[in-house]
């Protein structure tokens, strides 16, 4: 057993040695004076922001599902949103890497920082955070003017639909992102904010999950005035609307069913919190203030 203690002592010395050596090591210094010219974006909405700020020629690489604007699809890829490839990022030789703030992407950012790269992690979970992110990106890339202009434009367009709505008379909206099993948009999400901006209010109360699965009981209890379903691209909206009307008929007590206010909008418009967020607001507002028709 004595030999075991000897090994333990050696381990302690080794650890101490490691800590000592660490003091000697200096990190690589990266030039931070000039504005970044080779930017890597690790999320589709970050890519959209960069394009919207007119920085498309400074983008070095994007993720595979950065599909808007179409020009983004031609950029070199660094993997997808959930699986960014650090080697591809390094290959692109970036001087700035933009990531989102949640663990998986923050982890990538940390690893790149350790390797000596400049990274910027932004939380874009709410519309306020989105505005802050655009401003931040603007300041980091020396394009504050473009950022201010972009934000001005967006705020203008989303000011229209819902501002006139009287608080007390807001329609209750149930935004269904999946019918079977039923998942809806919950409180505290950016889509919920879009509903509010569009002049409505979420029929569902606060829940544990952001996009909760709900059962028939909760559906009836929420008593929505308007039901909006989302259709993926490639699905015929009018056909989905017909199926939806047919499906919800069994809940004959719902105000939405009684008035036939069941609509289908494109899933793309509300799937991303990016420069096109006004499209989502307009789509929802369209369902609230015009009766009938699809979006």
């Amino acid at each position: 057993m004595k030999k075991l203690w000897l090994i333990f002592a050696a381990l302690v010395c080794w650890t101490a040695g490691g800590v000592f050596i660490q003091q000697w090591q200096t990190g690589t210094d990266r030039d931070t004076a000039t504005p970044p010219m080779r930017i890597v974006s690790a999320a589709p909405n970050l890519t959209e922001i960069l394009f919207a700020l007119g920085l498309d020629d400074r983008i070095a690489a994007v993720t595979t599902n950065s599909n808007y604007p179409p020009a983004a699809m031609g950029k070199p890829k660094i993997g997808n949103f959930w699986h960014p490839d650090i080697e591809a990022v390094i290959s692109a030789g970036p001087d700035l890497v933009l990531t989102l703030g949640f663990e998986r992407q923050a982890n990538l950012a940390r690893r790149l920082e350790r390797a000596g790269y400049n990274t910027l992690s932004l939380d874009i979970e709410t519309i306020e955070q989105f505005y802050a992110a655009v401003e931040r990106i603007g300041s980091v890339t020396d394009s504050e003017a473009a950022a201010a202009e972009l934000l001005g434009r967006i705020k203008n367009r989303i000011a229209g639909p819902g501002t006139g709505a009287v608080q007390a008379k807001r329609l209750k909206v149930l935004l269904v992102i999946q019918r079977k099993p039923m998942r809806v948009v919950g409180r505290g999400t950016f889509v919920d904010e879009m509903i509010e901006l569009a002049g409505g209010v979420n029929a569902v109360g606060p829940t544990l999950h952001k996009y909760p699965p709900i059962g028939a009981e909760q559906l009836v209890g929420s008593s929505p005035d308007v039901i909006i379903e989302t259709a993926d691209s490639g699905v015929d909206p009018s056909r989905q609307r017909a199926e939806a009307l047919d499906y919800y008929r069994r809940f004959s007590d719902l105000p939405a069913v009684k008035t036939g206010r069941i609509y289908v909008i494109s899933a793309d418009s509300i799937s991303r919190l990016g420069p096109r967020l006004h499209e989502g607001v307009e789509a929802i507002a369209g369902c609230l203030f015009f009766t009938g028709g699809n979006m």
Binding site: L4, I7, T15, D85, E87, F102
Partner: protein, 346 residues
């Protein structure tokens, strides 16, 4: 001078010379595998270009910042899991034991899940909250299982195994409970982390965990002859004069510690701790004095190769390393078993 040492009768006995030779061969092979794997990845790099600062800066960056740390990490984790597997198989007298059987997996999982769900934000020496909580969870659970196993003292290794199974089941249920209450982002993060993943760790982390793992393997090697005797049974070993409770506790503690380090570094990677000891045992025999160093080297080689496959097979995405170890480990083991089936019954 005993006659039999000159005849063929004792091929199976381990001699210092055999041990040193076999260990050196394993280490050389390991070095070769590691070197080869640093040159393979989703981005092609060339050794010649690496040191050309003008044009090869990118290759050098990838090599130094991504490949080398990752290969070292895979080797360390593989060595840790394989050595722990050897020890647990000896202690439980069961060739089907693996390092996670006594609750380490669910304990680490619970720690990581709670850290992810609570949205903890701090880092400890550059390790994420999930890694630190997984380490703590693993050690706490192992202590719990050991204590429960001692309560069922009369049942021997079965008591310990049962305690492990019960704790795994209960903590597994807790993990599901916490997960069901978490937002989808945290759930996905937890699952990814638990499935086993390798990233590039910093120098201090590699240095310190490397030291821990090498020291643990060395300590376990010293316990080799005692583990040989314990694999026959506690009472049996005691009748030979071995202080089984001390040896069992020491080897269990070291094996659990090294597994907790491995899990905190890279999540739960299965198969390595189960089949590498098996395969090595088939090749060189059950003597723990050689099983430990050679399994450590073999585990390191296996996991390094598996990780290389994991990060290149479906590039730019990455397969979870645990998937690769299972897919390649299974048939490989079967092949080995068939070829050397006779050797098993030497």
């Amino acid at each position: 001078m005993p006659i039999f040492y000159r005849r063929e009768h004792v091929k199976t006995l381990l001699t210092p010379r055999k041990l040193i030779l076999r260990t050196c061969v394993s280490l050389v092979l390991l070095a070769g595998v590691m070197a080869a794997c640093t040159m393979i990845g989703s981005q092609p790099i060339q050794a010649a270009k690496m040191f050309d600062r003008q044009h090869g800066g990118r290759d050098y960056e990838i090599f130094v910042h991504v490949r080398v740390p990752r290969v070292f990490l895979a080797a360390l984790v593989g060595a840790a899991l394989a050595s722990a597997g050897v020890v647990f198989q000896a202690l439980l007298q069961n060739p089907l034991a693996d390092p996670y059987i006594l609750g380490i997996s669910s304990g680490a999982g619970l720690g990581a899940t709670i850290a992810a769900s609570a949205g903890l934000d701090w880092t400890l020496w550059g390790r994420s909250p999930m890694a630190v909580c997984a380490f703590a969870g693993a050690l706490a659970t192992v202590w719990l299982v050991w204590w429960l196993g001692r309560l069922a003292r009369g049942a021997g290794p079965t008591g310990l195994l049962l305690a492990g199974v019960v704790v795994n089941a209960f903590f597994g249920a807790l993990i599901m409970f916490v997960t069901s209450l978490s937002g989808s982002r945290q759930v996905q993060t937890t699952i990814f982390w638990l499935m086993g993943n390798m990233t590039e760790e910093t120098f201090p982390v590699l240095w310190i965990s490397g030291g821990c793992i090498v020291a643990s393997v060395a300590a376990l090697y010293l316990l080799g002859p005692l583990l040989n005797a314990i694999s026959f049974g506690r009472a049996d070993a005691r009748s030979l004069g071995i202080n089984t409770s001390k040896v069992a506790m020491a080897s269990f503690a070291i094996a659990a510690f090294v597994t907790a380090v491995a899990v905190s570094l890279s999540g739960l990677i299965g198969f390595v701790g189960l089949i590498v000891p098996h395969a090595v045992r088939l090749l060189v025999g059950p003597d723990h004095r050689q099983l430990l160093p050679i399994s450590a080297a073999a585990g390191a080689m296996f996991l390094t190769a598996a990780d290389t496959v994991a990060r290149t097979a479906v590039a730019p995405a990455q397969l979870p390393v645990g998937v690769v170890t299972a897919i390649f480990g299974g048939p490989f083991f079967l092949l080995l078993l068939i070829r050397h089936a006779k050797k098993l019954w030497r």
